[in-house]
């Protein structure tokens, strides 16, 4: 499974992105591309030390500044589904990269309805996302890394 396929599949889902400078961004993935550039909505930005917080309606992040992304566990199961579905339509694996990019436009509508449930589920676990943020911030301070 390709990391970027997982990321594509995570569209519409909440996620945590840490940048190389240590800032973290919690938000819902709107879109991403083959360079891992991402567009997030309803974002909470946390400073490197975890002591300052900003709310922003949306933001664009350049892929090469990303350290890692944390995505909801259930997304990995969705990738398999979509891979199967896609391979039904498009046997040649070699062209997948491009095919996926274009396929998006078509899938957009389906996503809004189809994945809504996942969204709500994760949002309800919003408490679950909280501690995470807390943890990561705690870690930043606790380990005293430069």
């Amino acid at each position: 499974m390709l990391p970027l396929s997982l990321l594509k599949t995570a569209q519409g889902h909440p996620m945590l992105v840490e940048l190389k400078n240590g800032e973290t961004y919690n938000g819902h993935l709107v879109n991403c591309d083959t360079w891992m550039n991402i567009h997030l909505r309803e974002v909470i930005c946390t400073s490197k030390d975890g002591d300052r917080f900003w709310r922003m309606p949306e933001c664009y992040i350049r892929g090469n500044t990303i350290k890692y992304l944390r995505v909801p566990d259930e997304v990995i199961d969705k990738v398999q589904e979509e891979t199967v579905r896609r391979s039904d339509r498009k046997p040649p694996i070699g062209t997948r990269g491009r095919g996926r990019g274009r396929g998006d436009e078509g899938r957009g509508g389906g996503r809004a309805g189809g994945r809504g449930g996942y969204d709500d589920g994760y949002a309800r676990g919003g408490g679950g996302r909280g501690p995470r943020g807390g943890k990561s911030t705690g870690r930043g301070g606790g380990r005293g890394r430069g």
Binding site: L19, N21, G22, V30, N31, C32, D33, T34, N37, I38, H39, V43, I44, T46, S47, K48, D49, R52, F53, W54, R55, M56, P57, E58, C59, Y60, I61, R62, T65, R98, G101, G127, R129, G130, P131, R132, G133, G134, T137
Partner: protein, 99 residues
Amino acid sequence: MAGRKETVLDLAKFVDKGVSVKLTGGREVTGTLKGYDQLLNLVLDEAIEYLRDQDDPLKTTDQTRPLGLIVCRGTAVMLVAPTDGTEEIANPFLQPDAA
């Protein structure tokens, strides 16, 4: 191949609006977006740079300096966000059981 993929974010909706831009190296500027290209080069008018902590250049302060009309080189752009609706908030991750 150029233009193999439409951009993730259509900057057209930010034109003539305030945007906040973070650049590699730690600089942070806000300004009115006047133009852009597909490489994410940006033209900002009435740009303001947020000055950074002397001791920790990765931290920005509330001190600013005016830059005027600037071009941000696309390769240095790390993050773009609209200033409208962006605000500093209290820790939203605090838990009730946190000590």
